[in-house]
Symmetry: C2
Subunit: 433 residues, 2 copies
């Protein structure tokens, strides 16, 4: 299709959902993308832009004629505009802001005034609010006469005379109520307002926990400044999750599938460098026992087993702990119980694998039974340490207000490598030499 | 508080949100839970039950008097009842079904008839549907006269004479339109119906991708049987995430923080056993080169570095690939490009760390420069293999219709361990001995 036939492209894109167009744009190569955007800029409307992931979006916006770009942005809700321009350079940001109508521009600018990653950046400034003493009939008449309503709204927010939200009613209730019923009589218990400076991740957890659909956002003095809807919260939750997963694996959290070789290298190199240091520490531990290994070479073959079992058991505990911290299931009040459980699990698993591996070592590597005893003892020690490290490292990171996912994988495996090699080779030196 | 003072407990629980009560129940110990439920069964209503995670919920339901349990269940929407009873034993299921009113019972039973993990199990059977030729006024009058409406509904669904959905209108549009406007004139483009047999994970991705709020569910003949709302989709998405994360780490995907020692052991033991086998394979590879190690003991200290760097690089590629498969960003059409990128990244990282580690080995472990050359070459080989394995293993698993997250971590690290040890010790045997 990219043979230059603009009409064929137009016909193909016309019936597609913006999310599908953006998926398609992300999957084709950069060259094809460039060609497509140049041939048929009309296909790239605001919704397509806001669906694109950041790297690809920058490319597409650079390729779009300025006029088409301005039109695309003008049709978006203010929260989507904020999402698009918050990471832009000043120069480009000014162009987009200039393209907006003055109301929208003011809304976008005030949203940008809130800190990055805050609820203020996530909210749409378009809300539907009525005085708290109105009736259902007044509200419906007001909505019917409104020139414009937000694409998305699920509640009518009640505000007092100083524009502070005091409750909200679902549209379903408004529709089902008689006209003379007071709005205040059909409000929901679930009502809670979010302060614009709240972290987006907290907002997402709150939506998930309390099954919220939309919630008003207020400024420091309690005045209504916008609303956050569940679809935005769902996207934040999804991103937070991605971040945790990528961070645990030591991949930059901005990583994406459409990044080029160079970006990918830049994200992954630092973590591999950290791992190189920690691997050299473990090698140093082994180096301390070169004399022992020279006497009993079988130790060299067996030692990675102890380290590997520790690394795996540590990763198990770690993953459960990082996840539980992210969902706020692991708290100071149950941390003691969880740590205790991990110690027991480590101990029992350690004992079980000690017996199995001790038997294997004795059977395969001959020598006297003491080789089996040494590897068994090292296995118990390392699995207990692994279980403990897996839960304590993220707990400590989170106590230090750091992200528990960040590099905790490397921390834990360094610990299990060092303890594994040291306990196994140390015991071997004491017992076998 | 658990000193037996039922009134104090009642006073404390009264103002709490069900989600907070359930969080609290999950965090206290099993003994305290038992005591609390026995002292104050009225505090455990249906909403609290449906918020609880499965293990804890079973405990609480066993402790609740039957009468209180029946009342708690009766007040729930049918989708929540289905969620609670789908994993119960027949005997208990029959009791709960018996406690429901006959309408609800029929709805729950028909929902249970759909396969586990399908959209049919996730939907609520309560929907708001009107004939497609109605006006806004007719619809509002109908809603006002309805005896009962679902807690959650965001659209009015239009159906044809055979009860097949043909479109939907947001409540906001219904409210804002004049009474004589036809419902068909204010429907949304985003309308799409889900077949009840669709997988829940696909439904969740669809909600996320197309920013849906609620969507009608139809049976095989296209008739409306229920609706799924975004809060349920959000929970599924969250569970899918958790499953991926836990599976990659080799932790049973049913794992939860409130599991006891025994359950946790049962979930983790099998994966550690798999790892024991793979670690023994790697040990076997080392064993092949015992003669070489006996001659140059420094190899024993250096070999885990090559393996560890490979394991880390493999985990990086793997995590990105598993995540991209889960979000459907990695597809057959761009798999080739992604694999090519990973090879280049592996090659460049391999070359960089080869130079660094070659230098370190030469400086620290003396001997001739050839030890540095050997570890450098092994590093390049292993990092390329790691990058390839990280993306190919999940791709192959997904092609085989298996979960790409499942045990792929163990697969990849086994491969990098074996290749790391073999290439390093093999090259050392060829070059240094």
């Amino acid at each position: 299709v990219e043979a230059g036939d603009a009409e064929a492209i137009a016909a193909a894109l016309e019936p597609m959902h913006p999310a599908d167009i953006s998926d398609m744009l992300e999957q084709i190569s950069a060259g094809q993308r460039q060609a497509l955007v140049t041939l048929y800029p009309e296909g790239i409307d605001g919704d397509v832009l806001s669906e694109l992931e950041e790297g690809v979006r920058e490319e597409v916006m650079d390729a779009l004629p300025r006029q088409a770009l301005a039109e695309a942005v003008r049709e978006l809700d203010t929260d989507d505009v904020v999402d698009i321009i918050e990471d832009m350079e000043d120069h480009d940001q000014a162009f987009i802001l200039g393209a907006l109508e003055s109301d929208d521009r003011a809304a976008v600018e005030s949203s940008l005034a809130w800190p990055e990653g805050s609820a203020g950046r996530l909210m749409q400034s378009e809300t539907v609010a009525v005085p708290q003493d109105w009736t259902v009939g007044q509200t419906i008449d007001h909505l019917r006469s409104a020139e414009w309503l937000p694409d998305q709204f699920y509640h009518v927010i009640l505000v007092d005379e100083r524009h502070r939200p005091t409750g909200y009613a679902t549209l379903g209730r408004v529709l089902a109520a008689k006209r003379d019923v007071l709005m205040a009589a059909i409000t929901e218990d679930s009502f809670r307002a979010i302060i614009a400076t709240e972290e987006q991740s907290e907002v997402a957890l709150m939506f998930n926990k309390y099954h919220l659909i939309s919630t008003p956002v207020v400024d420091g003095s309690g005045r209504l400044v916008g609303a956050i809807t569940i679809d935005d919260a769902m996207i934040v939750l999804d991103e937070e999750h991605e971040e945790d997963m990528l961070r645990m694996a030591g991949v930059g959290d901005e990583s994406s599938l459409s990044d080029g070789v160079w970006d990918t290298l830049r994200q992954r190199f630092p973590w591999l460098a950290v791992n190189l240091v920690s691997a050299n520490i473990a090698a140093g531990v082994i180096g301390m026992f070169e004399g022992t290994i020279a006497l009993i070479v079988a130790l060299a073959a067996l030692m990675p087993i102890v380290a590997s079992m520790g690394g795996n058991a540590g990763t198990q505990s770690l993953t459960v702990a990082v996840r539980a911290l992210a969902t706020r299931d692991l708290t100071p009040s149950n941390a003691g119980r969880v740590v205790r459980r991990e110690i027991f699990v480590g101990l029992f698993n350690g004992l079980a694998f000690a017996v199995i591996m001790g038997g294997i070592a004795w059977a395969l590597y001959g020598r006297d039974i003491w080789l089996g005893v040494v590897i068994a003892a090292a296995m118990v020690i390392n699995l207990v340490v692994a279980a403990l490290a897996g839960v304590l490292v993220p707990l400590v990171l989170s106590r230090l207000k750091l992200d528990p996912a960040l590099a905790s994988g490397t921390f834990v495996t360094t610990m299990t490598d060092v303890v594994g090699f040291f306990s196994f080779l140390g015991l071997a030196t004491l017992v076998l030499v």
